[in-house]
């Protein structure tokens, strides 16, 4: 069965790119536009991985990661954050919250695939 990945970003183009790239690799992708949307969609189905932006309206990425880690079903799910800033502090905040890995935007499709493969196997 193909692995399911939840992609969370308020930018439609990033979502589309993530979606397009991962689907081509045979993953199933669910899209969400912010943290709150993600939590409502994730409730319905189990996912193998979450890719999330950090800056988002309603509920940002850090809060989303914290919420997921607090839920026993997602305690060990790999979470990748998309950091727009290459600044260390944002990355550290994400790590603190429980992110598994990160990708600095802008990124190329190959980089995305490499990270997903590294964490999902």
């Amino acid at each position: 069965m193909s692995k399911k990945i939840l992609a969370v970003d308020d930018s439609a183009s990033i979502r589309q790119m993530v979606c397009f790239t991962l689907q081509k690799e045979g993953y199933e992708v669910i899209e969400a536009s912010d943290g709150r949307d993600a939590l409502s969609k994730i409730g319905a189905s189990a996912v193998n991985m979450v890719i999330t932006d950090l800056h988002m309206p309603n509920m940002n990425g850090i809060e989303l990661i914290q919420a997921l880690r607090a839920n026993p079903s997602f305690k060990f799910t790999p979470i990748v954050m998309l950091t727009t800033e290459s600044h260390q502090d944002k990355k550290d905040m994400g790590k603190q919250a429980g992110a598994t890995g990160w990708i600095v935007k802008p990124f190329k499709p190959e980089q995305l695939i490499a990270v997903v493969k590294r964490l999902l196997g």
Binding site: S11, S13, M17, K95, W102, P106, V115, R118, L119, L120
Partner: protein, 711 residues
């Protein structure tokens, strides 16, 4: 224009209008940090996504502006009217660039430069650009060292902290990624696992030693661990590079353990006093764990092996390849084939005997045979480039003769194919290339008139696709003329004048015997032997021919060939005590067919497979085999071309390693059977040519329908 790009553009336009609003707000309240942040974010997204979707110009342009707003955010620059109007101008410029990519008027490069440098002047002492494009844990491909790759061996000690799992890390993919870098041997240490009642099931107690021989740099290894750096101790040590030929003998086990700090020097000397196997003694005395010793042994072994290899290589460079007469290879493959057959017999016997010792041996033989088979088949593989070369000359000669200008390019020369396939491929390819030059590429004048460069291009490419190799010949010539094909086919009586046919079906007509649309018969092609020769020779070794063409743009003909011919994986089936093999690569699935299912379709040969109607061919009737059929039959659903066709059999036995034997002289031309194979117990099973069987039954169906009409 692909979809993601389109979405990016729409989004960028949205962001820009939002940006303009924000700018005007900022003009009224120059100190409002929220608005500055909004502008920064918008610019940032435009830049970031721009780079991802290939709008590099926009990305570079916005980068400067973003830097300026970052400075404003940090309070290092202040907002004034000039800045706002400059930013508004840049918005217009970005819009122009976005439209330009849509094929509209080109954006004014000079203006881009002017605005960009105006922004740059605002930045005090430009920060390093490279630092901005920070790394993301994955180094970009293509930038790898161009120097000759040198192998080195590293010792990697990966000691995760207890909380490794807490952030969702799974160490297994990391170890697999290391494996993909080169030759890796991984030793797992379990010494820290506490007693059951003390175990925290969410904690990581394991650690690993990895001995990795790779041509990548140690940065690539560090890269693998970038996400776990903060939750584990990682130690990467270079233990051998390619320069150490002189000292062939690698360190002793004790030295390695001491080097790593697993034991102390006094431990080592103490132990060395008694002479036994050092590793054993260390374990016995409890100074080192068994897994530690094992890890050291692995390291020693790997480095020694590597050095030995290097010494061997430096002694005789020429020994890297030898020439062997091809018939010797053929007989090797034949012998392996026999061996596979005998092995199948052995497996069958051992399965009946229920003797563990025999089973053990039989399984070992099975494993070795499979390995031997792969090796022997591998030896027959040749890069297809060996035949590509000769076509260059052919193209040159032909194009001069026909007064056409042709540029010939090839790619995928390194694609490997079975020697037998390559041998049979020469003539069909010559034919295809001839066709392209003669029928495809127009004369230089005609090309110019059509707005194309006078020089035509023919591309010959080869690539792997699963168990197949795709070889295609494409030209940028006139393309196929469907009308000409249609009228020609009608003239030849191949189709009726009112036949409604899809473009694809029309293209396929040119593969039928005796078909040629060339207006005049030239010296090169159109001598009555046409594409049908190509088709039949490709099909003779299990390949297929596909045509794609756009009028005025060119034609591509693709040959889909099996990787190898001698041994295939097959699906063994039975029909009234006879065995048959269906090539496994064509099989999609197997379903049951009961009398009841049959009643539902009112006697028509159609099966329902998950809401899809699949026609099937009852092989018992096709081969006129007697015997009563079972109440529940099996349908093997296969993919023939692009369609699904089912074959009804009595029983599906299972997967079978099939050594293909040619049929004897008299039976060679029997349609529907492509060969035979000998099974473990000596019985012969026929290998079905599902393409042929499908064609035949379609033909029968058509003629029966025709007869029905006349009656």
């Amino acid at each position: 224009m692909d979809a993601p790009k389109q979405v990016y553009r729409e989004e960028a336009f949205e962001l820009l209008s939002d940006l303009e609003d924000a700018l005007i707000e900022l003009e009224q309240q120059p100190g409002d940090l929220d608005t500055v942040n909004r502008i920064f974010r918008a610019m940032h997204t435009i830049k970031g996504s721009g780079a991802m979707f290939g709008f590099d110009e926009i990305a570079t342009f916005t980068h400067t502006i973003e830097t300026v707003y970052d400075l404003i955010r940090e309070g290092k620059l202040s907002v004034d009217e000039d800045l706002i109007s400059l930013t508004l101008r840049s918005c217009d410029q970005i819009k122009a660039m976005l439209s330009a990519s849509e094929g509209e008027v080109q954006a004014d490069d000079a203006l881009t430069l002017e605005i960009s440098s105006a922004f740059k002047r605002l930045i005090p002492a430009e920060p390093d650009d490279a630092a901005q494009n920070a790394r993301c844990g994955i180094s970009e491909g293509g930038e790898e060292d161009i120097d000759e790759k040198v192998e080195a061996t590293f010792r990697i000690r990966f000691r995760p902290h207890r909380e490794l799992f807490q952030n969702g890390t799974n160490p297994v993919p990391l170890l697999n990624e290391l494996r993909s870098l080169g030759h890796a041997r991984i030793i797992c240490h379990l010494k820290d696992i506490p007693d059951l009642h003390e175990i925290d099931p969410e904690a990581c107690y394991t650690s690993w030693d990895i001995i990795l021989t790779t041509d990548k740099e140690d940065n690539a290894i560090r890269d693998v661990f970038i996400f776990v750096e903060h939750v584990s101790d990682i130690e990467i040590t270079l233990i051998d590079d390619s320069n150490g030929i002189e000292e062939e003998e690698y360190k002793k086990i004790g030295e390695i353990l001491f080097d790593r700090g697993d034991i102390s020097l006094s431990d080592l000397e103490n132990i060395l006093g008694r002479q036994k196997k050092i590793g054993e003694m260390l374990v016995e005395s409890g100074k080192a764990r068994r897994s530690e010793v094992k890890s050291a042994l692995v390291e020693q072994e790997q480095v020694r092996e590597l050095r030995k290899k290097r010494v061997a290589a430096s002694v005789g460079e020429g020994a890297s390849s030898i020439r062997v007469a091809s018939h010797k290879l053929d007989s090797l493959v034949n012998l392996v084939g026999e061996l596979v057959t005998v092995q199948a017999r052995l497996s069958q016997l051992s399965a009946q005997r229920n003797d563990t010792d025999l089973t053990l041996v039989s399984e070992e033989v099975e494993r070795l045979t499979a390995e031997l088979r792969d090796n022997a088949m591998g030896m027959r593989m040749l890069p297809i480039g060996t035949i590509f070369a000769k076509f260059k000359r052919l193209v040159r000669d032909l194009s001069t003769e026909l007064g056409k200008e042709v540029n010939f390019t090839t790619s995928g020369e390194e694609t490997e194919l079975d020697k037998t396939v390559i041998d049979k491929l020469g003539d069909p390819l010559v034919h295809l290339i001839r066709n392209s030059i003669d029928h495809g590429i127009e004369s230089p004048d005609a090309r110019k008139a059509a707005g194309k460069p006078a020089e035509g291009t023919i591309r010959l490419t080869a690539e792997h696709s699963g168990a197949h190799v795709l070889i295609s010949v494409s030209d940028d010539g006139a393309g196929l003329d469907t009308e000409a094909i249609r009228s020609r086919a009608i003239e030849k009586g191949l189709i009726s004048p009112d036949a409604a046919m899809s473009e694809k079906d029309l293209f396929e007509l040119i593969l039928t015997p005796g078909f040629s649309t060339a207006k005049s018969i030239s010296k090169v092609s159109g001598r009555g032997v046409g594409m049908d020769v190509v088709t039949s020779s490709i099909e003779s070794f299990g390949g297929t021919v596909e045509i794609a063409s756009v009028r005025g743009r060119g034609t591509t003909i693709t040959l889909k060939l099996p990787l190898t011919l001698a041994i295939i994986d097959g699906l063994l089936v039975t029909i009234s005590d006879e065995f048959f093999v269906i090539p496994l690569n064509a099989v999609v699935e197997c379903i049951e067919l009961s009398d009841e299912d049959r009643r539902h379709t009112h006697g028509r040969n159609l099966a329902r497979v998950r809401e899809e109607i699949v026609p099937y061919i009852p092989l018992r009737e096709a081969f006129a085999l007697g015997g009563g059929k079972p109440s529940i039959e099996q349908v093997v659903v296969t993919e023939v071309g692009e369609r699904r066709i089912g074959f009804v059999v009595d029983k599906v036995v299972g997967q079978h390693q099939t050594v293909i034997k040619n049929m004897g002289k008299f039976l060679r031309h029997v349609d529907g059977v492509s060969g035979a194979t000998i099974m473990g117990d000596g019985t012969v099973a026929l290998i079905l040519d599902i393409n042929k069987i499908t064609q035949q039954s379609e033909y029968m169906e058509a003629s029966m329908n025709a007869a029905g009409h006349h009656a």
